[in-house]
Amino acid sequence: MTFALRINGQTRHVDAPPDQPLLWVLRELLGLKGSKYGCGIGACGACTVHVDGQAVRACVTPVGAVGQASVTTIEGLAAKDVLHPVQQAWIEEDVAQCGYCQAGQIMAVVSLLAETPSPTDAEIDARLTNICRCGTYTRIRIAIRRAAELIRRRAA
């Protein structure tokens, strides 16, 4: 089937079976490799993208279910040279080790901060369920605070 997907502000046409996960459409058909495969069952969050602003796990989202919704991937997060405050905070706190899960972590945090601009530790724990085997969680928590501050400053 042919789908006209709205991805990072552009319309992209792909030919795929409707049950093919969005992740593999992004990675294999559209060459957007920033969203990562980690588990294929929606358990690790390495594939997190935004569908109409909501964080979803692309590995369990059939492409046929996306419809006209607007998809944002990590590649579409920065406005050209200006990084998103969450990306900026990730660099400033030097969060990444291997870096594989970080695109998914960043997309999950962008969605979290959009809904909850000053999350408590408990809210972070409940909402951020992505896995990082390198164990960067302690820096991620610090970077979330910094990102929240950067967002507030940009808005001011």
């Binding site: 690790c44 990084l83 080790q97 820096r139």
Partner: protein, 767 residues
Amino acid sequence: MSATTLQTSRRDLLKAAAGAGALLVFARPQAGRAAARFVGEIGPFVRIAADGAVTIGCHVGEMGQGVSTSLPMLIAEELDVPFERVSIQAMPLVLRRNARGQARSYLGAGQSTAGGSNSVRVGFMPLRQAGARARRMILEAAAERWRVPVDDLTTQAGVVRHAASGRTAAYGELAGEAAKRPEPVGEIALKTPDQFAIIGKPQRHLDADRIVRGEPLFGIDAEMPGMLHAVVARCPYLGGKLAALDEGHALGFPGVVAIVPIPVAEAPAPPLTPRSTPLASGVAVVATSFWEALQARDALKITWSRGAGAAADESSARAYADTWARMEATPGDVVRKDGDFAGLKAPKAQTVSARYEAAMVAHACMEPPNAIVSVDPDGKRATAILATQAPDAAASVISAVTGIDPLQIDVTLLRMGGGFGRKFDQDMVAEAAIVANAVRRPIKLVWTREDDLQHDLYRPGACHILDAVVERRGRILGWRQRLATHSRVAGVAGDLAPRLTEYYPDGFPANHVPNMQVEYHLLPSAAPRGAWRAPGHVVSAFAIECFLDEIAVATNRDPVELRLEMIGAGAAHSYMYLPQMPRRTFDTRRYAAVIRRAAEVAGWGKPSPKGSGRGFAAHFTFESYVAQVVEVTVADGRLRIDRVTAAVDAGMIINPNGARAQIEGSINDGLSAALGQAITIRDGQVEQRNFNDYEMLRMEGAARRIDVSFIESREPPEGLGEPGVPPLAPALANAIFAATGVRLRRTPMRPDLAPVLARMRKAPRRR
């Protein structure tokens, strides 16, 4: 069977290719990022553009351990350029034949291999020499241009100066001439530590910007023109084999191009590792996309046969139970004997005994195993794009599979999404090479998470029985340790004794207990095993450091004071790492120093609030000394890790920021393995399949705060990727005991912890 199937599938491949029409066969596929490949100009590691921009090559694979920042820092220091002006590129594997005719990376055997926390330790002198040679070439170019003696020239921050005439030239102006000069031979005088401008100054990870933008940096992101995708159906039974396959059925699926068997007999024995690469019997499905290959693989009609003998219905529950019984009933292989534990007569002393158990665990790198391999149509050359810790071994494996001379194998190294020892082994590369050799098309072979957890090379599990004879005031007179482990090498003919990879006989408390006896038994399993971050150390430290805490509690001593008293004045002890490798030094004075530092920084000894507790542990791993204090709170039916404090002596620290990141990550990784992770075997198969039944740490379980304190040192740098892990599990168990009074003696702890948490939730709160 294999030859027939192979011929059939190659015929079918040609048929499919002809039918598809659109498929192109490239004669000599190039790596996807061929244009960006690093070639050194001023020596092998350095390029300087006319505008002064410096590019430094990194020859070791980056897997999150930070070598792509720390190793170039060593070169930049002696090159004498500002690090802000440096960009880094991964170097392709460059093999040369050594005097014995072996193909090795040019810095010497194993130097491109990341393992044993060795990259900074081993690279410290050679990479500084490489930087110094490049600087010398620039100086010689200036000397020739100005017709002055080279010794009259100095450099500062990328500028050459001739003091007498006041002339200066930026490196960029001299780079072209420098590149034409022969590389100097012999040792060059290096900077002294007080002259360091880059070493010891914190640097951020140089690829951070590309990572947060989601750039395709990883092995799994790479492509080759004309590439096909392969997914392998592997025998789910340990040691089992493919019995029958309905190949026609699989070839009928959309996009499927070929079916290639992976016969176990083709598993090569790479000469650089002490064991052969275990390979599961299986069938590769080759298709035009990963998704199509996966759909077809999951629909394959395959009959598997079970493994032979004990593997056929292996059960880890049974194997552990039998082993505990055997350890009690029969003496083991004596690994260490000091004094006479059996003949010890101390009527007034008490005996403290405990048993500790550890399950197998999997690596679960976030990037699952993958490899891209292409074999030229004439079978004379191969190209590979790999996310591997051991590119030398990868080239050997591709050579063993294809018969191609290793010097005709082109290996591009890409970033690994985690390694942790998993990507040291080459089973994924062997599979890709077998498939690429059969179809003679570039093959990208990717493992699913289920493939990864079901066919990992697991970290060995263990059983330890400890007995100590202790005087009333805590002086340990006798220490007997009976242990059984799975082994990384057991069952491989002509190999090391298994105990030598899973237990370090010179580790603490050896040399600090007068009567010591250690006996080793094998814990049997047919599951393949491999190196998992701080191999052998994590499980041994758990048993030893928990037991020291139990001795302290039994004798009413402070666990930190007890350890320091055992060490006394301390001394430099000879330490066997592996029998074939040079002995190392375990200096218990440095060990005592990290123990004191961790206690001091953590505020050890201050009272904890009710429901909270502190635990202590230390360990010596790969010549680095680490002590940790874990602080936990058990409340509302949950365990919270409030704070972990680490004191580390790893000699001179190259990049304090990266070093701290390694210890922080090790702490959370240690928590992850200690609390939740277990690989169990039932009915001859691994039970766990994905992250729904293999419990990894998430945000809520991570340490809320981590403090890392490095001992200031001018000793040569040691490794930091692994030594932070071993003290964590025992410090955690000791902290949980302090908080709850309950001793957890098994990893993972979660199953034993759950009833404790439930009970404490129900218990009425005391006022």
